[in-house]
């Protein structure tokens, strides 16, 4: 009897230790509930459905290739259930195969997506570089978990921002977008697809274990009002085809196999501007390197400005967040404000490029505080980019930052 109890206790304990559940609840300002139909949605579901929505709105079949990994497998499971949407799901032999399959499908004119978590992201790096130089639309989802290495696979972290930003050899810039809440995963998936397709670029979509497994009420969007995404495939125009000609977004043509007259070869070797022929010309390499950079930087032109929430006005302190810390930051801000302090908050959806007004916003506050579930990765980017003396509030325990923890830090700074 005693043994059975101990065994049961241990089983329960181990389940609790290894399962991807979080016992943290947030009270966000009771949202003045907008009229509409609501449901609860978990991050993994919303992300999968967002991809399906992107497929519907672009008319591109969704092709999802992935290798089982905690916690991203949930996306593979969810998408695999929806084959009636024409969703191809492949459980690849490894992480590298998964991204290559997705890239192959993208070349063939589909919405190629692969999803993984940190260790898998490491493995995909070389192919991400390939996707960047061949300039094809691709979505790579990283459901971040506590690292390094195997780390704490069932625990959350925001440790992969710099990996997404810089984790490839050579100058290899990629757009990075991060989901802020479970329901936000839906919109972020659509956004990622829109940018990937319009700019012919791989996009890294960051989520994390916490977001993936938490749920929240979601006001369901009107599916017919979701933006359409035009794949804009290249069509033969009777003239010579230039696979690396660029449009106003600096994007190159997406000419898919099966289209007569547009036969062309792409690959990882540096291309000559315009023709796409292999080129080792020094000036051409510099031009192409800058073009690739400028293309990604140019996405900022169409991004909405970062919005500051400063209800009382005149705050000296701005709390800047990204990703799943949104709920914490809002709740903490509420508590601090309730205690009579003024603070401003802002949240980034796009981490690369930054919204065009970000520098100006940061410059308007005496203190910028960046809470992150890492040792200060966004802070590093912001400091380097805007020469702002941003402070970091870190927590790397595999757990979300709690509102009261952040509240204490904010008050400590305000009381300075």
């Amino acid at each position: 009897m005693h043994e059975a109890n101990v065994a049961a206790f241990k089983a329960g304990y181990h389940f609790g230790e290894t399962t991807e559940l979080f016992a943290h609840a947030y009270r966000v300002r009771p949202a003045p509930a907008a009229p509409g139909t609501y449901r609860n949605v978990a991050g993994a579901q919303a992300l999968a459905w967002g991809l399906i929505a992107a497929s519907e709105r672009s008319g591109l079949p969704l092709f999802y290739a992935s290798y089982p990994i905690t916690p991203a497998s949930e996306l593979l499971h969810e998408l695999s259930r929806h084959k009636q949407f024409g969703v191809v799901t492949i459980q690849a032999e490894d992480e590298i195969a998964a991204i290559n399959m997705a890239l192959g499908a993208a070349f063939a004119g589909q919405l190629g997506v692969t999803g993984t978590s940190g260790p898998g992201m490491d493995l995909k790096a070389e192919t991400l570089g390939l996707a960047a130089i061949v300039e094809l639309p691709l979505i790579v989802i990283d459901v971040m978990r506590a690292g390094p290495s195997t780390g704490m696979p069932t625990k959350t972290e925001q440790g992969d921002l710099l990996l997404a930003m810089f984790g490839r050899h050579g100058e290899s810039p990629l757009p990075i977008v991060a989901a802020a809440s479970p329901a936000d995963c839906f919109e972020v998936a659509l956004e990622a697809a829109r940018v990937a397709i319009r700019y012919r670029t791989p996009v890294v979509l960051l989520s994390d274990t916490f977001l993936q497994n938490s749920s929240e009420p979601w006001r369901l969007p009107d599916v017919d009002a979701l933006p359409r995404i035009d794949p804009g495939f290249a069509r033969p125009n009777g003239e010579g085809f230039l696979p690396y000609a660029r449009n106003e977004h600096l994007a190159r043509p997406w000419a898919i196999p099966g289209t007569p007259g547009l036969e062309h070869r792409i690959g990882g070797l540096e291309r000559e501007d315009g023709t796409g022929n292999i080129s080792y010309d020094p000036d051409n390499h510099e031009r192409m390197t800058r073009l690739r950079r400028d293309k990604v930087a140019g996405i900022a032109e169409e991004l909405p400005p970062v919005e500051v929430d400063d209800p009382d006005g005149g705050a000296d302190l701005l709390v800047l967040g990204w990703g799943s810390t949104l709920g914490t930051i809002r709740a903490a801000a509420e508590r601090v404000r309730a205690a009579g302090h003024r603070i401003a908050t802002a949240h980034l959806r796009w981490l690369n490029p930054f919204p065009l007004n970000l520098g100006e916003v940061l410059g308007a506050y005496r203190t910028v505080l960046i809470p992150e579930m890492n040792l200060g990765q966004l802070a590093l980017l912001v400091r380097a980019r805007f020469l702002v003396d941003a402070r970091t509030y870190s927590k790397v325990q595999g757990l979300p930052i709690l509102a009261e923890e952040l509240e204490r830090e904010i008050v400590r700074i305000l009381d300075g």
């Binding site: 509409g36 499908a105 036969e263 070869r265």
Partner: protein, 345 residues
């Protein structure tokens, strides 16, 4: 897909020519490289398939073989090292109307890309994989490869390699490839014959091509490649035919140990000679693959095994179709509104 189509071509002309498949890029292999002969053979052979260049895709990895893509005036994707079968899987599954060809080498397919190769073969994706085996790393200037013979002296093995080599045909057979063949770069007729059969196959067709790297591993296949020696040492497999070679002087029989063994034809009862069967017991092609320990002995070429099993892309599409039949065409609104919802007025 592999059925010849002659009804349409890009110019509305009924015939395609080698020129339709030849790009304007200058071919840059070392003079005398076996790759030239393979390229010429492939470019000459493609028109007879009747699949237009725009429905043809060549995918390659890294190594000298990787450049092949640039010389074909088709769609092409030159990927990263070892990953061509995975890229090609994505392409072939996404668009079943394409004729997809992977060009790879012994380092690319069997070292860094070994995993993708065996899994493509296991899945039976509809594509052709041409493995140029020169038993050396050429592009990186001469290190031993996973098919180099033991004792191979190279820049990275000045005291000789202690690695045991892969036998690519045996490896492909072990991965249950549905089409496995071997041919030789400079034997245009044999090479084209094998390509023809590979193109007609449904599923993954694996073709090992012995390819001379005249700069870093010259003469590795001379015993089979040089006409004067080849006639004595090539064991040409023909489905349904007794396995006889060396101008009829020698043959392959089941030896005392139960394994195929080489014998003098005039010393055996003709009944004893093994009759090749591409679609029979898998043990036969497997043992034929092991008849020689490398191209330094009489070695089998031709189609080792050919049989049918479900093709991956077709199975993927069948599943989509069945899901739609069972659940109705996907309805995004219904998906989002499924489960418990509540309304705020």
């Amino acid at each position: 897909m592999a059925e010849p189509r002659t009804e349409t071509t890009r110019d509305g002309v009924a015939t395609l020519t080698k020129r339709d498949f030849t790009s304007d890029q200058e071919v840059r292999w070392c003079p005398g490289c076996g790759d030239y002969a393979i390229l010429a053979a492939v470019q000459s052979f493609m028109p007879e398939l009747g699949v237009e260049p725009h429905r043809t895709v060549f995918v390659s990895g890294i190594g000298c073989s990787g450049r092949f893509t640039y010389y074909m005036d088709t769609y092409g994707f030159h990927g990263i090292h070892g990953r061509a079968p995975a890229l090609a899987t994505g392409i072939a599954v996404a668009n079943p109307d394409l004729s997809v060809w992977v060009v790879t080498g012994d380092g690319d397919a069997l070292s860094i890309g070994g995993n993708h190769l065996i899994h493509a073969l296991r899945r039976n994706v509809n594509m052709r994989i041409l493995l140029f085996n020169n038993q050396i790393y050429g592009l990186t200037k001469g290190q031993y490869s996973p098919t180099s013979e033991e004792g191979k002296v190279t820049k990275s093995t000045p005291f000789g390699s202690v690695d045991h080599p892969f036998n690519p045909v045996a490896l492909a057979l072990g991965a249950e490839a549905t089409f496995v063949a071997r041919t030789i770069d400079n034997d245009r007729q044999h090479l084209t014959g094998v390509l023809r059969e590979a193109a007609a196959h449904r599923g993954t067709a694996f073709v090992e091509i012995y390819q001379n790297c005249n700069v870093f591993n010259d003469g590795a296949f001379d015993l089979l490649r040089e006409k004067s020696q080849g006639v004595h040492n090539q064991i040409r497999l023909v489905d349904g035919e007794p396995i006889v070679f060396d101008e009829g002087r020698r043959c392959v029989i089941v030896g005392d140990n139960g394994r195929p063994t080489i014998a003098n034809t005039d010393e055996v009862d003709p009944e004893q000679i093994i009759v090749h069967d591409v679609d029979g017991r898998p043990s036969l092609p497997f043992s034929l693959a092991h008849l020689s320990s490398g191209p330094t002995e009489p070695t089998c070429i031709g189609v080792f095994r050919k049989f049918e099993r479900p093709v991956y892309g077709e199975a993927v599409r069948d599943q989509l179709r069945r899901a739609e039949e069972r659940l109705g065409k996907g309805d995004l609104r219904a998906l989002l509104h499924g489960g418990d919802t509540w309304t705020v007025a």
